[in-house]
Subunit: 257 residues, 2 copies
DNA sequence: AACGCGGTTCCATTTTTCGGGACTAACCGA
DNA sequence: TCGGTTAGTCCCGAAAAATGGAACCGCGTT
């Protein structure tokens, strides 16, 4: 307990839910006395973590969090350089590009921009997606030792998308291909109709890995063009490695001893 | 005091500063005992508000905040519709577009995307900028009663940018023009070399105002083209009003009594 | 007018938080 | 190798804040 942990519990609960919520909803959702929820939500709003719609009396995430969210990994040289290269790639090709990170068995979008070709879905920074049903995610998983991958995927999560790997064997097969080729592609997996190619790269000092992707409509981009895009991404990666150094071992956490 | 308000104080302090920070830095910056800072930072990291670089032992904003930041005003129909219209505008014209909000005498970017024309600066969501030195900001200020504007701008903030209004009189003159024309433009004001046109629109139910902008290089876009862009923005606004209704009175906060 | 619903306030009790100071680890220059 | 400095952690009694059950409020409904 403690006010801080309760506040964070509220934030976590709110994440991914409907964008606004009331006192009772929170109290019910977190099995918390109404009085506690009321007081805490009010405090959080006073502090700026939340704001309150004057009309509906409902709470929503506050502007402070928008500002802080933007700071996440901002200023890391590799991130900024990669992002700049991807913006340039979008300019040249017209396709949507972005950077995403691995978190458990999901990926989180760090940076993104829409392309000029019509692509229905815009995946904004902060959005989550299943890592196993995503070229981006598999690329990041590919950097982990097999044992670690196995650990994360037991049990194997259910996801009703025909093109996504449906079991651990299929996933490892896709990961194997990604390891062999240095990039991965996906088509109509987690996001219907959306296809992507991506490469993974890691900061040699911190070891943090990220995946750079190009996304497009699966219907309008042929095999040949996808290969070209993969080549461009690999080129971006090479130039980044040239500038920032390569990361050899794929240790996500510090090596001990 | 209380853990929550201290935690938020740390977040506010961190906002806009260097992306990572240590215990002593925070303790010094917030005049807080080292022990409190140490304990609190650790707690915040455990909760996920912050994360800690294993190598440098320094703290930085956590992924949770990235995810929450994205939720800010997400799902509000007017915001999403406006953003979609602006993405389309970027597709058609190649210029950077975005949405920003007024906060005191500053604006905060809510949504943005780079254009395909080279424009040096990308102003990402969450970024702040002086409202008075910005077409976007003046448009939003223009919606307030003059008395409220006067209150916010006494004293008039210093800003060393030649093209920005240098005193309250100049600001009101620019705001007057914005009110008359229904849009505003800026060129080489807060952001060197960057020019923009923008229109303001408000949600008729909540009264929240936002400004839609198109940004471009001041050197490469002539007067005529700027007028065309302004017309396009006004058209977007009209279509949004058509769909969501107009907001007549410009009351940002609740009217009392 | 009674009821349900969402929200707030009160206040005694319990639980955290607070923070000075001692402590440890790493680093640096002599 | 030593002393000094800097960064961060830990301990623990005192003090302050969080908690939550119950009463209460206002509103729209039955």
């Amino acid at each position: 307990m403690g006010a801080l942990s309760n506040a964070v519990a509220i934030l976590r609960w709110a994440r991914g839910r409907e964008p606004d919520f009331g006192v009772s909803e929170v109290a019910l959702g977190l099995a918390m006395p109404k009085s506690t929820a009321s007081r805490l939500l009010k405090d959080m709003a006073v502090q700026g973590l939340l704001e309150r719609d004057a009309a509906t009396q409902r709470y929503r995430v506050g502007m402070l969090l928008l500002e802080l969210g933007r700071q996440y990994r901002a200023g890391q040289p590799l991130v900024e350089a990669a992002d700049a290269a991807l913006i340039e790639l979008t300019r040249r090709t017209g396709f949507a590009t972005g950077i995403s990170l691995l978190d458990g068995v999901e990926i989180v979008v760090l940076r993104s921009r829409p392309g000029t070709h019509p692509l229905q879905v815009v995946t904004p920074p902060g959005a989550r997606s299943p890592a196993w049903a995503n070229s981006t995610g598999r690329n990041l998983l590919a950097r982990l030792p097999d044992a670690e991958i196995a650990r994360r995927f037991s049990p194997y999560p259910a996801l009703d998308r025909p093109n996504a790997p449906a079991n651990f064997g299929q996933l490892m097969e896709r990961i194997g291909r990604a390891r062999a080729r240095g990039f991965d592609e996906s088509d109509d997996e987690a996001l219907p109709g959306v296809a992507a190619v991506s490469v993974a790269i890691a900061d040699p000092t911190s070891g943090d890995a990220m995946s750079l992707y190009v996304a497009f409509s699966g219907l309008h981009v042929n095999r040949q063009r996808r290969r070209e895009l993969a080549a461009m991404l690999l080129d971006v990666k090479l130039r980044l490695i040239d500038r920032f150094g390569e990361e050899t071992t794929a240790e996500p956490r510090r090596a001990h001893g």
